[in-house]
């Protein structure tokens, strides 16, 4: 099987190289109207088919590696280092992305998959798809070069083959680890498709605006996966790392946030291009940036350029990444300067207080946030270069610099939709802003009344102040979004006579993009509320003997038992705790610590009771070596559940926005309403 996999990847490289070269030659011939022995159209078709075949070949390679993991083929060095016989089946599958070589293969496979969709859907726009397919093939060649020469996943073990493997990193032996990396990679790799379409459209000086619609849809797909990946990672960190938090501003976490921010900026500013033919140059660079930042993020993860807790995939592969990144930037710059006259705006901004300018400010803030994350991530390297010593840029830096930017962004989320295109009058601002402002002020007062004191900004961390601001702005944005739905639904209600809920549904279906977008904004608000809760986290650590207890917030934790257990994969130490709230029994928790035999590493199994109010998060921190009693660390983390609920709303909103809108008076809607009228008539007749 390793031989099969190796040859499959080599074949994939040859096919993608052919796709790139033949595609480029064909497009050049079409552009210059020169013809060779083979017509450029037929040459482009062979390139497209080579791209499709490349997917089959990479799939064979990925299958061979998974097969090696399932059959415990420890002659393959990668399998030896990332699997063992006792590893449960789902984690054997996850071995595909648990190390450098496998994750590069996963990247190549996903890229080939996206390429397959582009190539199969080429009739959407044959010429633009040919450009995109060729550009994707260029990226594919790079990643296949990596898996064939720099980090081959099928490299064989030298000497005698060991009987068992070294096992999978215990931190990765968690159900979400089977989903989080593929989701994140689907997001990262997904940004290649809009990049290919945008670069292709610029290269061919695409007439019209169709390319921007195609690019926007592809970006939404990539953005959705990236969102899922980022938050699955946050949830995994919360459940597995056991430090009580979900985001540590680690460079690798930051690496995923940067392209997400750039893609978010694009998804906003693209509306200005679609509606008013503005911001064309800016949009092209946003989508280029999102792709380049995804590449940079991938490079940071793999090269160890900056210190990170994600150290499992570090190597000298940066020698390959840097030139590729430079080539990509050079291609973007060259294509842009050659064709920038094609990106002339149709209109100019007419007023400072308008929807357009709110998008502009939104973009500035999003890109400032993106730059802050990039700056904080790379500053240690810069400091070492300038001062000769490395510094750490961790959570306190981002709490002071990035959090205020985030709060400002939340404010813009509320204001933007209330402004009209082109220009907004003072009267309109007053009319639209009154309700949200009143809601914000009332919320601010209520929040102070229940004990959140923003003036504690200097007695502790600034978190309390930002949390107070966030709660107020959350009320502001929610009221603004609610009033948008209400206003639109009232119009529909007057037209159709249906109830308000049915009118909201119809309104959303008529403009899925706009109202799906509002739902996404609402989800973001809910996430922000959850994030604000972290300002009030509490934690207590105590050694507990049988029937001893500890208190945190309204909870009392009583130690019922502590013991040990073993199975072929790991040994476990755990404690059994009864949880009481205000004297009443609520649940039983069993925090544990596992010690994996193959990898000789420990991992934490957190026990938690999650409610909308707070999470009681309990960690088995180890045993006291003298007394043999368990040390229990309990965290009380307010509002964490809101984050996960918010993400679900974001996903729901994005899916709605991806569905095409139903036009008012369309045949479909008319038929349905006719059908319903007939049913009503029939019902009346029957009664």
């Amino acid at each position: 099987m390793p031989t099969f996999g190796t040859y499959a990847l080599l074949l994939a490289l040859v096919l993608s190289a052919y796709n790139l070269l033949a595609g480029a030659v064909a497009l050049r011939q079409i552009a210059t109207r020169k013809r060779g022995r083979l017509s450029p159209e037929r040459l482009a078709e062979t390139a497209r088919r080579a791209g499709i075949a490349c997917f089959v070949a990479v799939t064979c390679g990925a299958f061979a590696l998974v097969w090696a993991a399932f059959t415990n083929d420890f002659s393959v060095a990668y399998i030896l280092h990332h699997s063992n016989r006792a590893l449960p089946a789902p984690y054997k599958f996850a071995a595909l992305w648990s190390g450098q070589e496998g994750s590069l293969l996963l990247w190549s496979w996903l890229l080939a998959g996206y390429g397959l969709v582009v190539r199969l859907r080429h009739k959407v726009d044959v010429k633009l798809s040919a450009y995109a397919s060729t550009i994707l093939a260029g990226i594919q060649v790079f990643f296949l070069l990596l898996v064939n020469f720099a980090a081959p996943p099928f490299a064989l073990v030298q000497g005698a083959v060991p009987h068992d493997g070294f096992g999978l990193n215990p931190l990765l032996q968690y159900p979400e680890m089977v989903i989080h990396p593929p989701m994140l990679y689907l997001g990262y790799v997904g940004l290649s498709a809009p990049f290919a379409f945008a670069l292709g459209a610029l290269m061919m000086r695409y007439p019209g605006e169709k390319w921007i619609h195609i690019t926007r849809r592809w970006t939404m797909v990539g953005w959705l996966f990236l969102t899922c990946g980022i938050f699955l990672g946050a949830h995994w960190a919360y459940q597995v790392l056991g430090w009580g938090g979900y985001w540590g501003w680690d460079p690798v976490e930051n690496a995923s946030l940067m392209p997400w921010l750039a893609a978010t900026a694009f998804l906003h500013s693209v509306m200005m291009q679609e509606k008013r033919g503005m911001m064309k140059k800016w949009n092209v660079w946003l989508i280029f940036s999102a792709f380049l930042l995804a590449l940079l993020g991938d490079m940071l993860t793999r090269t160890g350029l900056v210190s990170s807790v994600h150290a499992f995939a570090q190597s000298s592969i940066g020698n390959w990444f840097w030139p590729f990144l430079v080539i990509c930037v050079a291609v973007c710059l060259f294509t842009y300067f050659l064709n920038r006259d094609h990106l002339k705006a149709d209109h100019k901004l007419e007023a400072l207080v308008s929807r357009e300018s709110s998008f502009l400010f939104n973009n500035v803030v999003l890109m400032a946030a993106c730059f802050t994350v990039l700056w904080g991530t790379l500053f240690p390297v810069l400091s070492e270069y300038v001062q000769g010593n490395k510094v750490t840029v961790s959570a306190p830096f981002y709490d002071r610099v990035a959090v205020p930017i985030g709060v400002f962004l939340l404010f813009l989320t509320g204001v933007g939709p209330l402004l009209a295109w082109r220009s907004t009058s003072m009267r309109s601002i007053r009319k639209n802003l009154v309700a949200p402002t009143v809601a914000a002020v009332l919320t601010g007062i209520v929040v102070i009344a229940i004990g959140v004191h923003p003036w504690s900004i200097f007695t502790s961390t600034p978190g309390t102040f930002y949390a107070w601001m966030t709660f107020m702005l959350a009320a502001f944005v929610t009221t603004a979004i609610g009033s948008e739905f209400f206003r639109g639904a009232r119009v529909i209600q007057k037209q159709t006579g249906k109830n308000l809920f049915a009118s909201v549904v119809r309104l959303t279906r008529r403009n899925t993009r706009r109202y799906g977008g509002y739902l996404v904004h609402f989800g973001v608000v809910v996430i922000f509320i959850g994030l604000a809760g972290s300002a009030f986290n509490q934690s207590v650590e105590k050694e507990l003997d049988f029937h001893q207890s500890m208190n945190i917030g309204p909870y009392r934790l009583e130690c019922l038992d502590y013991s040990e257990d073993t199975n072929p994969n790991y040994d476990t130490e755990y404690a059994l705790l009864n949880v009481y709230r205000d004297g009443k029994f609520v649940t039983q928790l069993d925090p544990a610590k596992r010690f994996y035999q193959a990898s000789q590493q420990a991992s934490t199994i957190v026990a938690e009771r999650s409610t909308p109010e707070w999470d009681l998060y309990v960690v088995y921190a180890g045993k006291d070596p003298q007394t043999g009693q368990p040390i229990i660390r309990a965290h009380l983390n307010p509002l964490v559940m809101w984050i996960w609920v918010g993400v679900l709303i974001v996903i729901w909103g994005t899916l709605i926005a991806l569905v095409p809108s139903m036009q008012p008076g369309s045949a479909n809607e008319a038929a349905k309403s006719l059908g319903k009228r007939e049913l009503v008539t029939a019902g009346k007749a029957e009664s």
């Binding site: 901004l349 007023a351 502009l360 400010f361 750490t392 830096f397 002071r400 610099v401 007695t459 180890g622």
Partner: protein, 158 residues
């Protein structure tokens, strides 16, 4: 436009004054300081975790650092003195964020500066475009109105 701007400025100034007033209040307790400073320092064992959050098994360094922090607080040292003592003992990487000294100040200044420049830039750009648009007289003809009508439909879709 001017009244709009003036009112927007008022909206911006009022919260700024409120924040400034809030900043002038408050005092610090030792427990809160221990928690806060524990979150401003790193564990030096190589785990790249915040000192107060380091939780891995048998960490050789975090208990020692936390004990030092407690001792420093008991001695009545100021935040700055504690940071300087830790930096002298463990190097600059023990601080979770760069201090406001010489080149490190650049880390703190550049992102907000860029944001302010971006916002000022956008305001300037809008002003420039607005003036340019006002200087060009609009041509009124049937074709123009057709174009305008389709644009209005596009821009005001529900």
């Amino acid at each position: 436009m001017k009244p709009v701007m003036t009112r927007l400025m008022q909206f911006a100034v009022a919260p700024t004054i409120a924040i400034a007033l809030l900043l002038s209040m408050g005092a610090t307790s030792p427990n809160v300081r221990y928690h806060r400073i524990g979150h401003e320092l790193m564990c030096v064992c190589g785990c790249n975790e915040i000192l107060a959050e380091c939780n891995h098994d048998s960490c050789p360094d975090s208990p020692v650092e936390l004990a030092e922090l407690k001792a420093d607080l008991a001695k009545g040292m100021t935040d700055h003195q504690i940071f300087a003592a830790f930096q002298a003992e463990y190097g600059a990487t023990v601080l979770a964020a760069p201090m406001l000294t010489r080149f490190n100040m650049v880390a703190w200044i550049v992102p907000p500066l860029l944001l302010v420049l971006g916002i000022v830039g956008v305001m300037g750009l809008v002003r420039k475009w607005r003036l340019r648009a006002a200087a060009v007289p609009a041509a009124a003809n049937v074709e123009h109105f057709d174009h305008l009508r389709s644009r209005i439909r596009k821009e005001t879709e529900l």
